[in-house]
Symmetry: C2
Subunit: 142 residues, 2 copies
DNA sequence: ACACTATTTATAAAGATTATAAAGTAAGAA
DNA sequence: TTCTTACTTTATAATCTTTATAAATAGTGT
């Protein structure tokens, strides 16, 4: 179970497990989506009426530092957060914003060439693919 | 000359050529960097002491809509703007923020597979490569 | 249960971007 | 060239996301 593993990761790195952290992780894992900090804040309003937005941001930062969560910055206003499972890319609908996971073997070759050409020591890369999802495509066609 | 072509593009699409627009384009082309809106604003302060930040933002949006400029959104606070010449990717130093252009044949295969797996109609993709530049690498090593 | 320290909360502050309305100006028409 | 009109710019305020601060609260090992 992913939640248990995530909590173990926190324990191992000496991060305290608070009810808020538990709930945020649970939401990230179960929602199967790529929520913004505000999405999470709103989703947990019922359970934690007094939780501060800062708590959401603080904990997302902690999770990111520990490697449990990845922050996705697209063109729009706010970051999205993705619980890290296996390495995958995202396909994003430009019309409705839907994000679909997409597995693809790592682009090691690109990193090697980049390293060779620029002299950088490469650590990682990011890639996203943009287009129109089937739903929006059929709507456009009437 | 790139500036002339850019101005022609504006004329063709019915976008008025104002001194501010001229100067912003000129700066984007000649600076050879990837400035933020504020960088541009500051760089043109001398020539246009009364120019408003809103003008910079408005025109960068116009340029983007016309296809002259690409907006780059990374993790940090503000967007960077890149004058579109040929298709290329960016290699970014995680230590000092330097951005180096990197040419690589388009990843058509990735787009095809993504289209096949998700049913999306793919329009484009973005990719960036992260690492440490030679300067920062040598500093780290003393 | 205690003590220590990290965390949460509430609030304010910072920073980037956008909205608004009045004044100004580019570009084609007369 | 001058006129006219719609588009731009300016100045300012508002909005939105994210971070900083300080006091109150609550995990965790002993």
């Amino acid at each position: 179970m992913e939640l248990k593993e995530a909590l173990d990761t926190l324990k191992d790195t000496g991060v305290r497990i608070t009810p808020q952290r538990h709930a945020i992780l649970e939401y990230l894992i179960s929602s199967m989506s790529h929520p913004t900090a505000d999405d999470i804040y709103k989703a947990l309003e019922g359970k934690f009426p007094n939780m501060s937005v800062a708590t959401v941001y603080n904990n997302l930062r902690v999770f990111r530092e520990v490697g449990l969560v990845k922050e996705l910055t697209y063109g729009d206003a706010s970051s999205r957060f993705d619980f890290v499972t296996t390495h995958h890319y995202h396909v994003i609908c430009e019309s409705c914003g839907k994000i679909v996971d997409f597995h693809y073997p790592g682009l090691d070759e690109v990193e090697h060439l980049a390293s060779h050409v620029t002299g950088f020591k490469i650590s990682h890369h990011r890639m996203e693919i943009y287009g129109t999802c089937p739903d929006c495509a059929s709507k456009e066609a009437h």
